[in-house]
Symmetry: D3
Subunit: 189 residues, 6 copies
């Protein structure tokens, strides 16, 4: 029994924010139920699909020439739980990166962001649709031409699809473990 | 505004599991509302206070000569959210440890457990009371005489109260960030 | 992926009401997570384990010489959902029975009770533990010496373990279908 | 006290899917609160009102020359509970049909669908609005010109308004019973 | 349709806190479902039934020679909603009192407490059982021998049973209005 | 620690209903999180922003030449809780008004409306966005040219900004008190 289905999509998809909607994995890849899907492609979020009101207010550009994207959907999950799951996914990425030889780099997590020193590696948002919770997490492959100083997987010579597979597997194991944990505990007084 | 109140208690308290109940922080330290309290003391959980049914079935002993303990309480929080918060707290501990000089050790997180290789550093449980969610996380200070092979903060020459203060501050910042994140996001389609 | 684990226990267990508690399937049969377990045995519910306050007020006796029992546990499920699931389980039993040759009998469902004319076939209750929802449904095998006029599976020459297997399979399929249904639907205006 | 208000509308209404929205019963018939409304009319669901993403993906046509429709709305009800209520409504229809002389037909329920052998009798969906849960269940009156082989009430010589009244009464009684059940039970350990 | 059943009990009952449990109205007066029951009697809450941990910590005595008590139970209602309902009940009492001739007194509400200047009129608590939310509100009839300076209905020459009837009717109307309000509103963007 | 941030906006804003959307306070005044914002301005709600379906059905005009408006947003709050909070806010307004010299007027609350005899003082609605609950409460300053007979703060010679400040402070204190109440209570049996 696996609590979540995961998939790495082996073709380029440009992330525009439009993908962050309910049933995107079901419509695109016939994955019904909780899912985590990863793919590679540029990132340029159109304002109508920006979900972070802070970004909207600041008219921030969410842009990267090439990113590894994760789209996660959990049904029957509210926003409080969604932001927690988002943080765990980001923590899992950091844990994976720091087990690798980063050529002197060290990745630190600050909430839902990953940094190497002052260089930003990721963008991420968690939101809710009428029927599910949705998470987007993108980690730069390329660090060129980004709106803020960044680093990317290419700077560390990390192959994106292999990294994606490991992160998907770890998030899937985490979800299984979370389900086991909530099913084996008694209540307190 | 801080989403959670934190406190390091500067006196020894033996953890027996009895502390994992609603309002322990309010009754003991007059902290009303969400809280994370750390203290140092031995750990020997009495069966009637064991909340992990897996441990009860296996008649496991949850024992340590000296641990740094964290007791976290979140009101209006269900079990699904509690196990997620527990994992984040454990991830924060790992992140803190791996920023330090561990004399060659590397800490890895597996669900709610921390390991250095095959040596276990922590015990942890998340549960719910009728009015709140409760988390216990204990990290060994001493690694002597434990039921399974372990390592502890002393093995890394880490001073427990300083570590406790950093973890409490990081968890508090995480809680503030989680609240901000859920308050600044729009819904999806 | 199966939403629920099912098991027919091939030894007699006397149902006293004590079985209607969280983690009974996990403690007894090492089934972790949502479960439906069936077994055969007498039924005599002790007052301290009676959950129906109507029965407690009336000092009703819940008794049968031999019943087929189903104990269902759903984690992360509240009481409103539990009573709905209970009704579906009972409806599934009725659907199964009426597909068989009942020697002139016809089973009708009234809420969570099954009747053949005025003869009662079942007892059932749905409740909640601090961490899960729990359902007991018992259908008479024997109809002798019951507190009210009843019929039982033996009166219809129905072999209990076969019937149990079919009901467990149908309830499992129902749970899978319910999960698919909630994961494939969009919201309305 | 009745948990739900029911009404059979004695004029033809063409079901297009547009009716599956919050407050349709309140706007159309001044029924405020939980409701189940039945009416007769053709069925031709326009894609923008299709809520089942499986149907949208398959570009299915949801069509019938004449159906008996039920629109149910429950306020303060989530999607998990809505799909359970939908199944119960469908089970109630099957129970009613099988108590009648179906001229050799036997109705079986498979999830939220009713069949007579391989002939489909119904279409149904459960969804949520921002303030309520909504269920549509339609049972064929006519079985002519349907996209898949079907049977309808006319094939069984069942008068639709009488059937509607019985199903509405049974669903109303079920809702009352569910409310009583959840209000008379104690918690478990 | 009435959202809640109300009853004034015309015999003395000593309030000890034991009455603040699920199904008290059902067990005592056969009222199944949401209820508000009022009665007259002394008040002396035994520590094991004190639900306010602040009172337990302070070892407060909750005592009155004669009070008018209200016990309210709402099923399917959490603690956040329960404390809101408690405040509304107290506000309703204040509104009723201030419409009367209080011989120069003016009642002010501070959270869940009513005061006339510095004199306290009420005690109140809201809590949750495993299946419902429970509220106790007591207003002094007599103001003699109370642990803190108080006033009571007798000091204002208010007849308790008439006052009880008016408060019960107003709370019942409030509950009906709340239900209507939640059922007639659309969602926002 | 304050559970809610409050602000009186010292410039005129015409209330059209468009303000009743998620993050209005964050977008307009950079207030992130739960908030109550008051301002003065005319009121003329456009039909597309009317949330009360009763008003929509009746094609009611929600109009006032000059009102004091309150916009309240609570994150992680459902509709049942929102209508309760709305009532408390209205009760707070009534309590404040009746402590003043109303030149013979007496304010009574009927659900979410305030009246002085048959003259209406307020309009109010509570709704939910995908991420929060929203409340609008407007109290007339001017009572001229209103669709129904009304009174306004000017008729009582009450200065609106002072009244706004007191109501905001009282609602903020109420929210703090509600949070403390839910955090200091134990569960019942």
């Amino acid at each position: 029994m696996s609590a979540i289905q995961v998939k790495f999509v082996d073709k380029k998809i440009a992330y525009t924010g439009e993908q962050l909607r309910s049933h995107w994995a079901y419509r695109s890849f016939d994955i019904l139920g909780d899912s985590a899907v990863a793919f590679i492609g540029p990132c340029d979020v159109r304002p109508e699909f920006m979900k972070d009101v802070e970004d909207l207010k600041a008219a921030s550009r969410i842009y990267s020439e090439e990113m590894l994207h994760f789209i996660v959907e959990h049904f029957g999950c509210g926003l409080d739980e969604a932001v927690l799951r988002q943080r765990l996914l980001i923590a899992i990425m950091a844990e994976n990166l720091n087990r690798r030889d980063l050529k002197g780099g060290v990745v630190t997590r600050s909430g839902s962001d990953l940094y190497d020193g002052r260089l930003k590696l990721t963008v991420s948002i968690a939101s809710v649709s009428p029927v599910s919770a949705l998470i987007h997490a993108g980690i730069n492959i390329s660090s060129r031409n980004t709106p803020v100083p960044t680093r990317g997987l290419a700077d560390y010579h990390i192959e994106p699809s292999g990294f994606a597979g490991e992160v998907l597997a770890a998030y899937s194991a985490e979800c299984d473990g979370l389900l086991r944990a909530r099913c084996k505990v008694r209540g307190c007084e």
